[in-house]
């Protein structure tokens, strides 16, 4: 699997960060970039459940590989159980019943990386930038936050 030097990843992430931070300010999200750990933590209130929902992205090897986006129990690094994982809204959603964000821009959506990942048909995470554009498309961290926000907005509540 492709690896990028940490210094290169940091430069990429820091280049994208001002746009993502501004987006978060416009949309009421709290975002924190943990540069040393190459992690991004992002949280907001679930619009229907009126409870915090939190996301943690591991950014190692970004953008040779997409981030590994986890939905986590708020305030922790633990993967969310159904009670903290948003329910899918109408139509096709990124909020998958396997408790995975199912999108080409999530490394954990690929079965080759994650046994719970639903997809074997996208050519592997190295090909994330060229997956069909019928699907949700997000090529920067800010784009990914915006995409999560769009699907969260129509989520009717939490899964559990």
């Amino acid at each position: 699997m492709t690896a990028l030097p940490v210094s290169a990843v940091r430069a990429i992430v820091q280049g994208e960060w001002p746009g993502a931070l501004s987006w978060a300010g416009r949309h009421g999200w709290i975002v924190e970039l943990q540069v040393d750990e190459l992690r991004l933590r992002a949280s907001t209130d679930h619009p229907a459940a009126h409870r915090p929902v939190e996301f943690l992205a591991h950014l190692d090897s970004y953008r040779a590989l997409p981030p590994a986006w986890h939905v986590v129990a708020p305030g922790t690094d633990r993967d969310a159980g159904p009670e903290d994982f948003p329910k899918a809204g109408p139509g096709n959603s990124i909020f998958h019943g396997n408790l995975v964000l199912c999108a080409p821009w999530n490394r954990l959506a690929y079965k080759s990386v994650n046994p719970k990942g639903p997809h074997e048909d996208w050519g592997g995470p190295e090909s994330w930038l060229s997956v069909s554009t019928i699907h949700t498309t997000a090529h920067t961290l800010g784009d990914m936050l915006a995409a999560i926000d769009v699907f969260l907005r129509v989520s009717p509540g939490m899964m559990g």
């Binding site: 746009g19 139509g91 959506a109 639903p118 915006a146």
Partner: protein, 114 residues
């Protein structure tokens, strides 16, 4: 100023309407016969928004695609989201979507989940 003098797309310094738009000196809607709408578009990629001029009869998808290109996007299914968090239908015109002069819009992708 005749419509023929105005071009579709990003409004930058030197544009005949630049001073009016940026300084917000006009402060009122253009006349009903005006075929254009001027909007401020933000993207999650950069902190600052950009002004664009579009035709009112242009589809949302066409206008959003133009804005997306200006912000460096390639591919995807760009559309606009209003400040009220309404994601606009890419297939209808800006006029049908109710887009107004000076409205603030955000670029989002309309691709489906999977």
């Amino acid at each position: 100023m005749s419509p023929e003098e105005l071009v579709i797309g990003v409004i930058v310094e030197g544009d005949p309407e630049y001073e009016l738009i940026i300084a917000e000196a006009e402060g009122q809607e253009k006349s009903e016969g005006d075929p254009f709408v001027r909007v401020r578009v933000f993207s999650p990629r950069v902190p600052d928004g950009k002004w664009f001029r579009f035709r009112k009869d242009q589809t949302v998808g066409s206008a959003a695609g133009r804005a997306a290109t200006e912000f460096g996007y390639e591919g995807g299914s760009p559309t606009f989201e209003t400040e009220q968090k309404l994601v606009l239908d890419r297939t209808i015109t800006l006029e049908a979507a109710g887009v107004r002069n000076r409205q603030v819009l955000e670029l989002v992708d309309a691709g489906t989940g999977v």
